[in-house]
Point group: C2
Chain length 290, copies 2
Amino acid sequence: MTYDNRAIGVFDSGVGGLTVVKQIIKKLPTENIIYFGDTARIPYGTKSEEIVRRFALEDSFFLLDKDVKMIVVACNTASAIAIPMLQEILEVPVIGVIQPGALAALSMSKKKRIGVIGTAATIRSNSYPKEIHKISPETQVIQQACPLFVPMVEEGWTDDDITYLIAKRYLNILKDNEVDSVILGCTHYPLLKAAIQKTMGSSVSLVDSGIETAGAVERNLKEKSIYAESTGLSKYHFYLSDMPYKFQDIAERFLERTIPHVETINFDNFLIEKGGKFWKKYQDLLKRIY
Amino acid sequence: MTYDNRAIGVFDSGVGGLTVVKQIIKKLPTENIIYFGDTARIPYGTKSEEIVRRFALEDSFFLLDKDVKMIVVACNTASAIAIPMLQEILEVPVIGVIQPGALAALSMSKKKRIGVIGTAATIRSNSYPKEIHKISPETQVIQQACPLFVPMVEEGWTDDDITYLIAKRYLNILKDNEVDSVILGCTHYPLLKAAIQKTMGSSVSLVDSGIETAGAVERNLKEKSIYAESTGLSKYHFYLSDMPYKFQDIAERFLERTIPHVETINFDNFLIEKGGKFWKKYQDLLKRIY
């Protein structure tokens, strides 16, 4: 058995991706993890496909510069828009949250009626329906962008009359279409699980992509035989491009543990110093794709 | 009489600053304007002071590279956090929205009880109270951050049962403290004017910083004698770091006219190519400030 003790790189537009990290730590406790949260440029979900692809590439450059063995795109928006490009040009395996979430929803939906909620960019990309229809073209997919869910979670309004009014507004179309499973297509949404479950009714299954993605990471490590050795001392490094106000409070809500060491990096300086080199390295491949 | 036909540079974290541009065009129709909206990194109001200062500097570098004669910081968050630094290091006049808004509120408030609403970063900075207390230390200032107002405006929910429920939640503290004027401390809030007025009651004055800022720009041009000549052909250039979905629709709501020419620029490339030069130029001054 060979091992690869290099870290798994995980990036997200902010701290929401810590929900995915939590699941990876739970399932794969021997792995080292390097996390990058692009808190300076968050959110991605309201922005154009072009900019999301560029940010996803730059975030990957940062992780590759730290010599990671795999990249996990914990952000739904970046997964929805940038995964094919990243998988085509990067030399390490790239895992996103869309495919694992879609597979889980398919296995849960008996009526073959699946709801998808996410950011505006994720929904516009149609990535979940495309992934679902590859396997089951006859499955009905009903999508709804929920732009107010993220700021509502960040405001801490997760169980409030306003929460339920907004949830009802967004989720009515899924109820009307009688979906029996709903993909929580944004890392913030698991924090609204209770409100979404209450609004949708108890018979509807909610799919948390974080859990499913950790499973995909495990399968990929196994397949490529790049597990880390068990040293009993897994290392977790957290890098952010901005230190959000009350970061530790927020992080603990997502990760459900304290973050011992977090470093704020000047991402503009990283781009000025090393961005040019990376962009140059991949320019021919990128030209071929676009 | 001497003239200066170089453009006035205006920047904002996104398109909200177009409300300020609208007022400048109305008051100063002979002036040329170059607008930069940092739509790739929007919003600023949820981020740290350090990153807002850095972004404000970089946005200014972009405008200075276009040879503007003045910089208007149309963004409340950037004004609240970065104005003193920008005024100290840049060689052109820098006008923000905080001081004009504070002065207008002071002249409107008979009870000397002023409310301020804005982003989390604007409110945390205490810039409005500081500006008000410089002139009138006895005036009571009651502040409230309203993080859901911006996404609500962007969702188009400006006159809805959810709008009023959220407005009531945020504005109750201002009502309880019996303020008689409220500063709309974010460029998106004028679009919620009707809902805010209805919630606060008709006797409360609302201060739109855009209008006040155009007045400050006019005074500054006059003082420095740097008006543009009347050519009958004022030029307006709009640059964005990302092209938002349905930009023309959004822009028209803010500017109340169509935008004939808008250019999306790759801001990372600008930083990689020219950022280093600008950072170097100001590094000694910046070191002295921090």
